[in-house]
């Protein structure tokens, strides 16, 4: 490309750019898939990272005409598995049979998840503003729910309870919206 930013020169030919654009596009989907397999966001990030590296290494084997997510899920699953082995035993790590089931079924539900993600945005809009603020804050990086609760003058339990109610109403809202979406179009 004649006009790429100076710091963004493809170092390994055009496939690098293709890789970056594809990965950037699917990053939220991949992270979501990995999240269902591992206990924390930090673990998820780490495995997402490793997955990106693994995908880049194998990128020349990838046929651009085939389904990227399907392929990437296989890679991510493998990376999550090997990462899990390195985790301490006392962590909240799923045992093998649960891990395999979640990975297997999760990869098959990708399109459904994508549609839900779209619905989530409008569901968030429909939330009462106080609830929306609360959920946004709870997911803001570096914010601890315990601190939020204290700031709001509530116990952590009460705060988690409110959060739980918001999550449920979001899931209900998503479900009602997605069932009205033609699944073939949701991911077109």
């Amino acid at each position: 490309m004649p006009d790429q930013p100076d710091s963004f020169q493809p170092r390994t030919g055009d496939s690098y750019e293709t890789f970056v654009s594809i990965l950037a596009h699917y990053e939220p989907d991949l992270r979501r898939f990995i999240r269902s397999l591992l206990p924390t966001h930090a673990d998820t990030d780490e495995v997402l990272q490793r997955t990106a590296i693994a995908i880049w290494r194998k990128f020349d084997q990838f046929d651009l005409e085939t389904n990227f997510m399907k392929w990437a899920c296989v890679v991510a699953r493998y990376e999550a598995l090997s990462y899990r082995r390195s985790m301490a035993r006392d962590r909240l790590v799923f045992r093998d049979d649960v891990f395999d089931l979640l990975a297997e079924e999760g990869a098959a539900e990708e399109e459904q998840r994508k549609a839900e993600e779209t619905a989530l945005e409008s569901c968030l809009e429909e939330l009462p503003s106080k609830q929306r603020q609360l959920v946004t804050l709870a997911y803001t990086q570096g914010v601890k729910v315990v601190d939020l609760a204290e700031e709001a003058g509530a116990s952590p339990e009460a705060f988690y309870m409110r959060l739980s109610r918001i999550r449920r109403s979001l899931l209900h809202c998503i479900e009602s919206k997605v069932s009205r979406i033609d699944p073939t179009k949701a991911t077109a």
Binding site: D6, F8, R35, Y139, T140
Partner: protein, 561 residues
């Protein structure tokens, strides 16, 4: 699908899911959770929905940080480069001040939520951001386009189309890695990153190992590239192939596959089998000539532009004119170089970077990729009309609002010139900052935003565009222009009329908010680069905007555009 049941049925199990995702589940409940997951497919589905929600919410609230981190990664020497995509959050953990601000905001009853919340409402999140294209126009030299097709530009994405060139030379780079140099007149059907058909004209293919297997079709022939450089020339339905280097496999009229090595040429007539002929390499487009041609073109264009620049700087209606040639952290305002205001309008560069502009190596541009990047200016005075014109190359519209030129804060008489994430240009002037906004009670004061129709989508990423907008109180109208063509005009009604205009402190490529005491800031940086921007204390006419574009543009087209 199995929605979570409400409220009692399945309640404890769902709590386990949430406690697990929040990292506060007890060991005993975790075991119970796993047992339940192992035995129930519907419970697993519910679990995944929760996990997805958790991931989306987390991703959503941290995406602003990502941008900063992404930039940090890009501007550092990425070695290996791939760490990029997944790494951001670890690179720039700006979470601490953000978290503090978040708590403060919460304590204040959410008064600052607008600052913290992700920039756009629901509609701004594209379900799937994708650009269509499997190849890009890499270079052009003296291109002339057929009358019935619009001009194409370097950097344009192309996909599944008939690419036609009346004369001149173009290089098309497929995403497979294969490169095609086409000499007009030519008609090439682009089918995928791995396949194309030459219906007429001469092409030269350069196929690196990564693109081995690229297929090129002639009228009666299929050629599979085995990693090579070869040419195909199609005239009057008869084709001729010549291999310069490497090897190809060709199948003519459904006959047996033939391997052809470097240094040999074959004629491929429609009516009979292929026959060997003498090589004539000069029938095919020459990459060196293309390179020379395109750099000669650049030099000519740049030279033409410099005389345009000097004329524009001397225009007495111009308020400020920046071409982004950095001098000691400043971008000089060319308009006032010799007047009493010399230096007064110079802009200060903050985090923005000088990068290649429209003519790499000849003309710089300013890039605003990093969230905090901006060029700050101060332009005092009172004005009676505004015209804004710039050359801009948008990489993507990541923000809800993507800044071109915005007055700090948003006080009475100040302009906001920006692009919304749906590709609409926006120009607005604050009419009265003491009255509530007609749109939202808690938004900034009384003003109207004049939107153009969408003029940009991802397929235009990387293309240089000339944008202009005019705020014309005298004629009571606002107009928007792209590449010298007016795409929108709208009346300024009595209610929104204002003709005492100001700028004061303002920013190019971002927005300086009113909450100056706050460490947080709205992120409106333009993900792209600007080659130049001119501000006029006058409403330029349609013809004048067209003239600005014509005189400063690059290249030429047959159809008079």
């Amino acid at each position: 699908m199995n929605p979570p049941s409400e409220p009692s049925n399945g309640e404890p199990e769902q709590l386990w899911i949430e406690e697990y995702l929040d990292g506060r589940i007890s060991p005993a409940d975790f075991e119970a959770l796993q047992d339940r997951l192992a035995e129930s497919p519907s419970f697993r589905a519910t679990f995944r929905r929760y996990a997805a929600l958790d991931s989306h919410l987390w991703e959503r609230s941290s995406s602003e940080d990502d941008e900063a981190a992404m930039f940090a990664w890009e501007s550092a020497t990425p070695s290996p480069p791939l760490v990029a995509i997944a790494r951001p959050r670890f690179v720039l953990r700006t979470a601490v001040p953000l978290a503090a601000a978040a708590l403060a905001a919460f304590a204040l009853g959410g008064a600052l939520m607008g600052v913290l919340a992700p920039s756009g409402p629901a509609g701004s999140i594209l379900p799937e951001a994708s650009a269509s294209g499997f190849a890009a126009i890499e270079r052009l030299s003296d291109p002339v386009w057929p009358d019935d097709s619009g001009p194409r530009f370097e950097g344009d994405l192309v996909a599944g189309e008939l690419f036609r060139l009346a004369s001149g030379t173009a290089e098309i780079r497929f995403f497979s890695g294969a490169s095609m140099i086409v000499e007009g007149p030519a008609e090439i059907a682009l089918r995928s990153a791995w396949e194309a058909e030459c219906r007429s004209g001469a092409v030269r293919m350069l196929v690196p190992p990564a693109a081995r297997g690229f297929r090129l079709h002639g009228p009666d022939t299929e050629i599979v590239d085995l990693g090579t450089e070869f040419g195909l020339d199609v005239r009057d339905g008869t084709a001729r192939v010549e291999v310069f280097d490497g090897e190809i496999a060709l199948r003519h009229r459904g006959g047996p596959e033939r391997l052809v090595e470097g240094g040999s040429a074959w004629e491929l007539p429609a009516s009979r089998t292929e026959t060997p002929v003498d090589p004539e390499a000069n029938r095919f487009p020459d990459p060196i000539a293309l390179e020379t041609g395109s750099s000669a073109q650049r030099a000519t264009d740049f030279h033409r532009w410099t005389s345009y620049r000097d004329r524009l700087a001397a225009d007495d209606r111009i308020l400020a004119y920046y071409t982004f040639e950095e001098k000691a952290g400043l971008v000089p305002d060319l308009a006032n170089r010799t007047g009493p205001l010399a230096g007064e309008h110079d802009g200060a560069i903050i985090l923005a970077q000088q990068v290649d502009g429209r003519w790499p190596g000849l003309k710089p541009a300013m890039e605003f990729r990093r969230p905090g990047s901006r060029v700050r200016v101060r332009i005092d005075g009172e004005f009676h009309a505004f015209t804004f014109a710039c050359w801009v190359r948008i990489d993507s519209l990541d923000r809800r609002y993507n800044a071109l030129f915005l007055g700090d804060g948003y006080e009475t008489g100040e302009p906001h010139w920006q692009i919304r994430d749906d590709g609409k240009m926006m120009l607005s002037v604050m009419v009265d900052d003491t009255r509530p906004s007609p749109y939202q009670p808690d938004d900034a004061g009384f003003h109207r935003v004049y939107f153009s129709p969408p003029m940009w989508d991802l397929s235009m990423s990387g293309r240089w565009l000339h944008l202009a907008s005019v705020f014309d109180p005298e004629n009571r109208r606002v107009s928007h222009y792209v590449d010298g063509v007016r795409i929108h005009r709208q009346e300024i009604t009595d209610e929104y009329f204002i003709d005492h205009l100001r700028i004061g402190n303002a920013e190019i490529g971002n927005w300086g908010q009113p909450f100056r005491e706050e460490p947080t800031f709205a992120i409106r940086n333009l993900n792209g680069r600007m080659g130049e921007i001119a501000l006029f204390d006058a409403a330029l006419a349609d013809a004048e905007i067209t003239e600005l574009y014509e005189q400063s543009r690059a290249g030429k087209c047959a159809n008079g555009r």
